[in-house]
Symmetry: D2
Subunit: 340 residues, 4 copies
């Protein structure tokens, strides 16, 4: 019963197969090879961005920090929601890569900034310090921005460049039922995640307009993110994107999550903390129930520090499904929930 993260599952067999196919003969290192070319072509095709600059890296932190660094000056601020992953969960990676640019958090509702709040925060900032905006899709609260909401955030950003943190890009596309290109519309840079949705560890930092990707290769090299045997990153991305695997695994993860969320929503002791749009559930339930689930081996995260919560308050739990979560695990969790 593993619901702790979509970083915990295995790689998809098709991705492993691509890796095995790539493990053949010699290739020039550092990105000069057929596999890298193929991966870049597939990313461009997926986003309908034929001239895009595409950089494959191993972590979402690297993809986000590199994208935002290329869009910022060291004395600028980067606008994001106040629960953004780039704000709190990366030990200051963005500020590190951006040589000092700080984050400027904006209030969120269910993980989404209101366009008017973003606009007001930018207006309040010293114009010399106005840097890029970063939007997370799927949000850290498990919700998905509509295309209209994304467009409104891009409009609120005005002349400022906008970055889409798409660690769960495919899950959002599957949820919206739109094309990947439609979801990337208006973005200066996109972090397109593979790791959480079937890969071993690969993310693409994408600039649809390569003129905006200022010195990204130098930044990546300097950050230790130019792998020598690039083909093994590229092969994962090829296996992930070709034949639309990524959208299938994402849809599957979303469906499993929806089933879980629906059952939770009907449970008398459980409250959903946010709408469930993709593959993440935030729910509250009593400590007694939590203790029982844990004792039976359910794995998920508690999101609040005990110090900041009354002893008898329900606990805020986060459950995530990746494509590989088995129906049996969900069944077991649900039966435990109702067995109390």
């Amino acid at each position: 019963m593993f619901f702790a993260s979509d970083n915990g599952g295995p790689a998809h067999p098709a991705v492993m197969a691509a890796l095995a196919r790539a493990n053949d003969g010699h290739r020039m290192p550092y990105g000069v090879c057929d596999w890298t070319d193929a991966a870049v072509a597939l990313v461009r095709e997926a986003l309908d961005a034929p001239g895009a600059e595409v950089h494959l890296v191993t972590t979402g932190t690297a993809a986000n920090a590199l994208c935002l660094a290329a869009m910022s000056q060291p004395w600028q601020r980067i606008f994001c929601s106040d629960i953004a992953h780039v704000l709190d969960d990366e030990m200051g990676a963005v500020t590190f890569f951006a040589n000092g640019a700080e984050m400027a958090p904006v209030a969120h509702t269910d993980g989404r900034m209101a366009p008017a709040d973003l606009f007001a925060r930018i207006a309040r900032e010293d114009p010399r310090r106005r840097g890029p905006v970063s939007v997370t899709q799927v949000t850290e609260a498990g919700t998905v921005h509509t295309l209209g909401h994304l467009a409104a955030l891009v409009a609120a950003a005005g002349d400022l460049p906008v970055h889409l943190d798409g660690a769960r890009f495919a899950n959002a596309v599957a949820a919206l039922g739109c094309t990947p290109a439609a979801m990337a519309a208006g973005m200066t840079a996109v972090s397109l995640g593979g790791t959480k949705n079937g890969c071993l560890g690969v993310e693409a930092a994408v600039f649809p307009d390569p003129a905006r990707a200022h010195a990204l290769w130098a930044r990546r090299k300097r950050g230790g993110h130019v792998l020598s045997k690039t083909r093994y990153l590229a092969a994962q991305m090829v296996g992930y994107l070709e034949h639309g695997l990524w959208l299938e695994t994402a849809a599957q993860a979303n469906r499993k999550t929806a089933r879980l969320a629906a059952a939770l929503a009907n449970h008398p002791d459980v409250t959903l903390a946010h709408p469930v749009d993709a593959n993440i559930v935030f729910a509250r339930w009593p400590k007694g129930l939590h203790d029982r689930l844990r004792a039976e081996g359910a794995q998920y995260y508690l999101m609040e520090d005990g110090a900041n919560r009354p002893a008898d308050a329900p606990l805020l739990c986060r459950l995530v499904c990746d494509w590989s979560v088995e129906d049996a695990a969900i069944d077991r969790l649900l039966s435990l929930l109702h067995a109390g």
Copy 2:
């Protein structure tokens, strides 16, 4: 005929097999798993350093930069040979991770600093700016320091910490016929390479005394080098170290290189530029010969910019063998060399 790099070959089947074994079920992300534990245990055992702090990353640049950053202050200098990889080939990664610490190059002979030169360079430095020393083993010139030479460099460093850039650690151990622990003796930190010697992409940053690894986890996270699905790095390292695979592949690469070097040394138009101790050959031969080899598909690097060399001077060529280079490729190269 691929001799361009030991970054160009495939991963060893045993490493691929470990990867496949690891691709099973769910694991907690970010290093909390059985595979990571096993990899760390094997690294500690290899270096006879039971309490060592071990961090798995994907590039040598990351391993080197993280090690040196943890040993430096931003205003210090890092002493290294003037052909050190950390000096010239990483787009300033060390300075980036070390928040500004600069490199202080010391003259080399065949890639090795003389202990007296290192001592004198340190003595000349403002004491407040004396940071760590970095020694590359196998050197960038393809030579290997004797254990005595390493000990003399550690002695010359005095109180300053010493880092071993061991991108080809196993090749050096195989060349010296010593234990890995003997080669790491006296080192504050070791970058222990896997990528060039049979892995897909994994290096270990190792601090035998964990008290010296100041905030390495935070630095790694901040650098985007904490992979979520760590088991795939760990599995590579397990496959690489268990049953002594790493020393076998390294010995094999060295043997192939020795055969190549011996033949080159006997060729009338070829001069070896440095002693060949491990798996790298630096040799000079005429442009006519080079053109012929290239036309036949031989891949290796030219090391000098045309602008800095007389038109008719022999070319400085670098040839590298990894474990996977086939004898047939060497035979073919040698027959082409003698066919002129």
Copy 3:
């Protein structure tokens, strides 16, 4: 009618006289001189900190950033009020000097953080990222923390070091009627301002316990803040501190401000926005009144951007008095206020 800033007035004649006295003969540069020794001795005496490490610099930004950099790691956060000068008014200087440490703002009331809010914000932070706390006294809202409030903030910080941004240190001491040492109690570092209160440009970065001032000289040099002819900074500080000039000029500035504030408080169209404890007044009055004052030559800052305010709302105005503001200027302003 200059009320725009306490950075706008002339230097006090006694400070100018000290400067003239110091302009005699040769001195060794970079702080090795009698004048520097005398200034350091006076700062130590003022704070009753006989072993304190004292660094003279030319700006409050430098003093604050150097102090906080010496107390932080690059991946940590620095806790401060959400209107702190170090947060918003220095183009990211703290983050720059601290090699990436970010600010973590805490809500304020009249410029002061509630100890419980500070405690909760620290508790919420990843323990590895908990860096120093910075408290401004006189606050950016013109109020003064009581000694009890300061002690409670120090207690809330627990093991974390605390920095006092004392750009208006003397004004706060004068307001509290305490000793300078009492106000610095519990502080790891103090920025002790001179510029706003009678000097040309000098601030002291002070660490009562020199063991906490990690590499401050190196940081200062690297920041371009080691002046060669240090005696001219030192002489200002000597003229400022000897014979208690600093507390006299501060008391005088506070008295003038109190008179101004009292008159404003009684005006029917004026509202004070914060209590007036020292030498800064925040008041709101109608745009018509503002236009009249401006037309007559009154200089003060408007604190809100027009974009964020209804057209007919009263304007938030900041008026500051330094020691040199003439009573006639206050009289004139008040008569204009009542002439409408």
Copy 4:
């Protein structure tokens, strides 16, 4: 007998007088005042650069580091002589302000890079890492580049921007007998020093073409180098430049130095180590003579660490004259030299 530095003398009375004149009434802070306007106008006029961007700061380190930061990317290298002040004497200030750009030293003769050596060093560098060139005039060896030499260095730099570290700009102009503008020809940025030649502490960072001064104000603010009471920096610069004072004091310092150097050159136990072109003498004399001079109170620097020199070798001594050195001090030193 103070010959330790041209940072040791008093400020010129005309500079002190300008300071006193400026100490009158209120002025808007942060550079918005008549004094700043006047200083900027005088700098522009001096360099015949009517649109130049001019920033007044308090140290040469700040002027150099800010200029070079505005001309560099974090992953680039900055080319300079291997005894450049920016390389060795500023605790890494350039790298700090330039967010990581490293120095690339080029061999010097008497403090001057040969244009061919500079060209070759640049050619050898990865094109992506080619940053600006910094040339010191007066050099750290006390020599002065001819205008032709400067032009040849600018030509060798090709498309790369060139910075002139003119901490002793006026001494060089006086030595060359040219116009200040002629000496600044071809430079993208100039550090124009005041401190060593009669001021208390002021230097100008000047970009003749303001389009090249990328975000210099933000960098300066972030570095803590925007003084609030700017008029006191500006007044020094006004007193220094108006009526040509700067060129008079520089010529006087050079004349005194020439007399000292001529006498030293004729002394049988003394050897000049470099040509003496401006106000710095490098000379070698025996330890016995040195001990006698020190005992009599002569102040100058020894330039070599004892550890790196045979016990009986003559000592390398640096003597510097500023405008205020008295003829009597020179007479006394010379009579001591001949009294042995």
